[in-house]
């Protein structure tokens, strides 16, 4: 038997065992914040109970989540980086972008607060102080929604971070949780989404330093991957999910999700 035959039968076998399980499901590529905060664990069973459609979530950074959609490997993309999402739709990979909900970013820092920013509201001023004091700052550095938000804030602070970063600026290239673990280990400042922080357990000596700035707004959007471009996209089921998430019922389910009595995401789909 030739090697080609062996390989062929191998793939055939694997394929057959995969085809055995015919379930009604869609694949959603989303961000670590929605998965790791526990939002999906709360939300998806409600959708499945109503429609009988299972939802498989691949939770990665926003950049990678959009790339999964771009390759046609997901039916729906649920992320948080508006300019990237609009580009995704403009390129024809997404059908239409719907706003779903928001939460906010917060600046986390050591309780000892070496940059003297704790309790302030001006995120831009806080970043300038961190840079001036050269105290450790952990960046996601992974092209996630949070990373893009961080870069935009440095720009607004008049700091060209690519040029001005020093040893104090630590680009970790990791997801939110691992980056928070790094920050906890280095006692560093870090920009986080509130959801991940609230459900994060290894806080060590870190606490919220800056919150409540209008510029820390974090909008989530949802899109059906364009079936015209990717014919295998499960159009009806994917659309059913998008429709449900922005429906009054889905929006209420998002508002109902709380950790320790605190609401994590605020629905704001346009009626």
């Amino acid at each position: 038997m030739g090697l080609r035959k062996v390989l062929l039968s191998f793939f055939l076998l694997v394929f057959l065992s995969a085809a055995g399980a015919q379930e009604r499901f869609i694949t959603v590529s989303s961000t670590t914040s929605t998965e790791q905060s526990g939002l999906f664990k709360h939300l998806l069973p409600l959708f499945t109970a109503k429609t009988g459609i299972q939802v498989r979530v691949v939770a990665v950074g926003t950049g990678q989540a959009l790339d999964i959609g771009r390759r046609g490997d997901a039916d729906v993309v649920f992320v948080h980086a508006r300019p990237l999402e609009e580009k995704f739709v403009a390129e024809g990979h997404g059908v239409q972008r719907f706003e779903v909900m928001y939460n906010d970013f917060i600046l986390i820092g050591p309780k000892s607060d070496p940059a003297k920013v704790a309790g302030t509201r001006d995120i831009v001023a806080a970043l300038q102080k961190i840079k001036a004091a050269q105290v450790p700052f952990v960046s996601r550095g992974d092209k996630s929604g949070t990373h893009f938000a961080e870069l935009a804030l440095w720009k607004e602070a008049g700091i060209d971070i690519a040029k001005d970063k020093g040893a104090w600026y630590r680009d970790t290239g990791q997801g939110m949780g691992p980056a928070l673990n790094s920050a906890a280990g280095m006692n560093a400042y870090i920009l986080s989404d509130r959801g991940t922080w609230l459900s994060f357990k290894n806080r060590a000596d870190l606490a919220i330093a800056v919150e409540g700035d209008r510029r820390l707004f974090n909008q989530y959007g949802v899109m059906l991957v364009n079936p015209a471009k990717h014919p295998q996209v499960k159009k009806e089921m994917g659309q059913a999910f998008v429709d449900w998430v922005v429906s009054p019922e889905g929006q209420k389910a998002i508002a109902d999700f709380k950790i320790g009595g605190e609401q994590l995401f605020f629905p704001n789909a346009r009626k």
Binding site: F11, V14, G72, D73, K201, N202
Partner: protein
């Protein structure tokens, strides 16, 4: 030290609780890794044996390559398989990405060189010893190679177990091609990575201990089966 003891206690209570989700994750880990070992062994033993007993130009280079491939980085294998199985890739129409079979494919590729390289060495050592004898019995080429493989099957078990160890331990490949989907492609290692991400280090460590115990159990099982078989059949 305290946290490790704590984690051991956590691991024991995890096992004792008989949690259905954890059982599902453990079962999937076993299914994926054992399937990968099965397919990889099926391909690797004949491949390793063939390289051991045949002589052809470029053979040395091939051996070096095979040995080097034992160090294939899981994340690279994951990425390549991801690109192959992605809808935009050549095998996209199969729709395998983000399914357990995709994880089996990735792990098979990852451990095939390990089993093949170790098998090649073992068969070659035995070949040096038995070549004359086998030739006088009229066994040539692949027939002779397979005779040796069968003869040293108990030694080759270690090569297979090395492959199994690698398959059970890696996270880089399965997390990319499987997507760590809850209830579908979430295995032990990806769960540990996830819990670490959530900052739940004690739970992550407890799960790690459960995984180590599992691998220990598999190896103990293999060892006893080997002993029993050796006593029975020699």
């Amino acid at each position: 030290m305290g946290s490790i003891l704590e984690a051991m206690r956590g691991a024991l209570s995890l096992i004792a609780s008989g949690d259905a989700t954890l059982a599902g994750i453990v079962l999937l880990s076993l299914k994926v890794s054992l399937s990968a070992v099965f397919f990889a062994t099926l391909l690797a033993l004949p491949l390793g044996a063939a390289i051991a007993v045949t002589r052809f130009p470029g053979r040395r280079a091939l051996i070096v390559l095979l040995n080097a491939l034992m160090g294939l980085p899981p994340v690279v294998v994951g990425l390549v398989v991801y690109l192959l199985l992605s809808r935009a890739g050549p095998l996209g129409p199969l729709g395998l990405l983000f399914t357990p079979p995709a994880m089996v494919v990735a792990q098979t590729i990852l451990i095939l060189p390990i089993i093949a390289a170790l098998c090649r060495q073992a068969v070659e050592d035995a070949w040096i010893e038995y070549e004359e004898q086998l030739r006088s019995l009229g066994a040539e080429g692949m027939r002779a190679a397979l005779t040796i493989v069968w003869d040293i099957r108990y030694s080759l078990l270690t090569a297979v177990l090395a492959g199994l160890g690698r398959a059970c331990a890696e996270v880089g490949a399965v997390i990319i091609v499987g997507g760590n989907i809850d209830g579908v492609t979430r295995v032990m290692t990806t769960t540990i990575a996830l819990e670490t991400s959530k900052g739940d280090l004690p739970l992550a460590l407890s799960l790690g201990i459960v995984l180590i115990l599992l691998v220990l159990l598999l190896n103990a099982g293999a060892y006893f089966i080997k002993e029993a078989a050796q006593r029975r059949y020699g």
